[in-house]
Symmetry: C2
Subunit: 504 residues, 2 copies
């Protein structure tokens, strides 16, 4: 059926077409069903779901409105003519139905779902059915491995001419746990020192529920968004990078699935594993260290759960031919002193620069993780690996490597002086003598976000004490930093209501 395109400048974030109800009725189409659209006389076509307008409408029955995702794709002029036909339901819908009925899916079926997600052939509601089906019925090891591969194949992949590609991932919910910039600097410096044919191309996320993600922290001193060729340049120079993964198109299905999971804050385990491993495979990783931090307030609640997750990671990685090492670490309290982009950058800087007031817990954890990676990758004794890593840190090689990466990413550590911590501050003090019994990651993250983190770079929390340390009455427990008086007040009120630090 030929229809005139009505220029409505519709920007929907996804392909969508609007039909007049008479047209829809004539074609037996209901809202949400799909049509195939092509520019009249051309070959290229696109499939899109329809909205229907009725009553006093802005379309007449021989017109159609298209979102800009479609007009761009079809190179349509504002007053073009399109030819539409009802489209078949995507086959992947029947596979989603199959999973909802608790049947196992094949690789081809999973690939079909993932590829339709990436190509916008499925609506958000359809993806929700997929997420619900895997949340309720789970996925076995083979299905999870298949989903991981499908997610890699439907995205961009980084190609590096290296024998070993090293990567790490932390599963946390642990505030201030900014080991990544330190570990990457240590390992990249070790690669140089030991003349390894290797690289550590680290891509990170921005904060989702935490006060800051690694990308937010690095962004205080350098750029983190690059094209694929730019990224290759940075890695060629430094054997490493510290960039945001979001703009690279690695395993893009993952982002779309996570967007739907976020609606109900769901996090199906199969999806978690596929999400992490697909990003690693997309950068060509050969060796991956997974750091699972467990604790009451962390994503993984206790050691038993952590062990089970470790086991699944190992089994699925084996199916994918990926060398993996999983370590379990304490996730009971925040790490370091700073929580928030600039405050965490400061902690990283103090450790790498080996300053007197460096946060010891952050240093120790970073050395531990780098040691694990080196001994795992080179099949080396742990003591030997630790000696190398400590040497690199003490000699300033790690700091130099970090500076080199930051400069390759068009940044400078000089920025650190210019960006100021939030000028509105509040000291939260102990109301009694005693010992710190508990510091809640979850509450700290809420307070830091209330204070403006991560959007306000200088907002966040500085923690003076850790669990087990003594405090006197009226001694400072933490300071809140904010960019505005209002945000500071929100954060103060939340602190007073939730008491994130427990003194006993």
């Amino acid at each position: 059926m030929l229809l005139k395109v009505k220029p409505l400048h519709l920007l929907a974030g996804r392909p969508i077409a609007i039909l007049h109800e008479e047209t829809a009725h004539y074609l037996n189409l209901h809202a949400g069903e799909r049509i195939r659209i092509k520019s009249y006389g051309k070959r290229k076509e696109i499939v899109a779901p329809i909205d229907i307008t009725g009553g006093r409408t802005i379309l007449s029955h021989d017109e159609i409105a298209l979102s800009q995702e479609i007009t761009k794709e079809l190179h349509l002029k504002s007053k073009g003519i399109v030819d539409i036909t009802p489209a078949l339901r995507p086959l992947s819908l029947s596979y989603i139905h199959k999973k909802l009925d608790n049947h196992k899916l094949t690789f081809t079926e999973i690939y079909s779902i993932i590829s339709d997600i990436v190509n916008n052939e499925l609506t958000e509601a359809e993806v929700a059915f997929f997420v619900a089906s895997t949340y309720l019925n789970g996925m076995d090891l083979e299905e999870t491995a298949a989903m991981t591969q499908a997610m890699v194949k439907t995205g961009h992949q980084l190609k590096l001419n290296k024998q070993m590609i090293i990567d790490k991932h932390g599963i946390g919910g642990i505030e201030g746990n900014r080991t990544t910039p330190i570990v990457v600097s240590l390992i990249a410096a070790a690669i140089d020192q030991l003349k390894l044919n290797a690289a550590m191309p680290k891509t990170s996320s921005r904060a989702i529920t935490s006060a800051a993600g690694t990308a937010d922290v690095i962004e205080t001193v350098a750029r983190v968004e690059f094209s694929m060729p730019e990224l290759q340049g940075i890695i060629n120079k430094t054997n490493a990078c510290l960039v945001w993964g979001g703009s690279l198109g690695l395993a893009p299905a993952d982002d779309k699935i996570i967007q739907v999971e976020r609606i109900l804050a769901l996090d199906p385990e199969a999806q978690l594993i596929a999400s992490i491993l697909s990003k690693k495979l997309s950068v060509g990783a050969t060796h991956v260290l997974i750091d699972i931090s467990y604790g009451k307030d962390a994503k993984v609640k206790d050691r038993g759960e952590a062990e089970k997750l470790k086991d699944k990671f190992e089994k699925i990685a084996a199916k994918l031919g990926l060398n993996i090492k999983v370590v379990l670490t304490d996730g009971s309290q925040p790490i370091g002193n700073g929580i928030g982009p600039l405050l965490e950058m400061r902690d990283v800087f103090l450790v790498l620069k080996q300053e007197q007031n460096k946060p010891l817990d952050l240093e120790q954890r970073s050395v531990f993780l780098a040691t694990e990676i080196l001994s795992f990758v080179l099949n080396m004794k742990r003591e030997e690996a630790e000696t190398i890593i400590r040497g690199i840190l003490l000699s300033g090689q790690a700091f130099k490597k970090f500076e080199q990466i930051i400069e390759a990413q068009h940044g400078s550590l000089g920025f650190l002086d210019k960006i100021k911590l939030g000028r509105f501050r509040y000291d939260f003090k102990a109301n009694r003598h005693g010992t710190i019994a508990e510091i809640s990651n979850r509450k700290m993250s809420h307070i830091a976000r209330m204070a403006g983190s991560p959007a306000d770079k200088g907002a966040g929390i500085f923690l003076y004490k850790h669990v087990g340390q003594q405090v006197k009455k009226n001694e400072k427990l933490f300071t809140i930093f904010a960019e505005t008086r209002d945000k500071l007040n929100y954060a103060i009120r939340l602190s007073q209501r939730t008491w994130p630090v427990l003194v006993k």
Copy 2:
């Protein structure tokens, strides 16, 4: 935060706001999250999910685009200023999560979900999670009754000053099974004859997957869309009506849920029961007959399944204080000769007019259902009720009542002559001598729809034979009617591929 409204004439079928990515980043908002919007200086506000536009965008960071659902609701001028704040997640989302985790919901929790669905507070993806959770975890009798009540309370209700409100509903998937107009005419005539303080305000649906719904069929001779006061006028005149339920706002949650179920062609049993009973309660029904037709191709596949469904209907109706009678009928083959709006109207007419060539199976089934209703409502012996019903049919009272209803609905049976059956026709003939072994409802519905039904009123199928009857080779099995040559050809090809009539 104050933003300028950019006039994009966005018509999305639901409230939606588009923010610039900088604004979203500043407010820590992700696509799909919600904001509260009010016109600057006014009090009325509306909650809407957001889309985010990035890169080369058509919005600047101090602007917002709003769908017309919002601008209308807020009476916004095209260049107004709005005040937005991040909105809390609707509480109902946590109840949906609870159901997804297989916990029982209370009435209040179910009411909250249903009311948020009706008020557009939940997105389609969120409703999909609700549908998936009830599909996978089911709902018990109390939950189903609660959902039914919530659906009634969140919609319009018909108020009639009658002692008894009689209703019926057929669960089918049986083509040509147009008993409703006949049964309503019989019962309404019986109400007159017996001077009962009663009415039968029948609301029906349009076709969803079948070739025609009762509303499509009645629409060939009368109007079916009325406002609530108009409807009351029709019922006051005739003690009955035969209208489309869709425009009355009865249990509107149901339509929105069904729209999402249709994505995967899901039909959770709890939803089916709540859907039917809520429509009945919304018209104030006191006595309801449910006709479950079962058969291989029907919605209910066999007698066992039908018995179970009957049991659930009876138990839930008891919880709702509704008098209900459930009958099980044969759904193995189409009923009557016509399939398609005008062809089915013709069958109804022939039975009511008591013409020689009336379809006997349709008459018999209609008399059976009307008899069941009368004996159930008046607690009368079945034989006695049947005598009354047959008397009404034979005497022409039923036909007069039908004419009266059609006229009250601004129609006339004179239209029947004017509207012609599709002028493109094809006779499908038997390829051998034998007995009709099977006629597939599902295949017949597909063929009739291909031929243009229900949008083309005169399109459809005329069936010459029923199961058990003899045919000779080359004798006509059915004729396809279509309005265009193309549609006829589609329907012919589908017939030849699927063989809807099996001769043995």
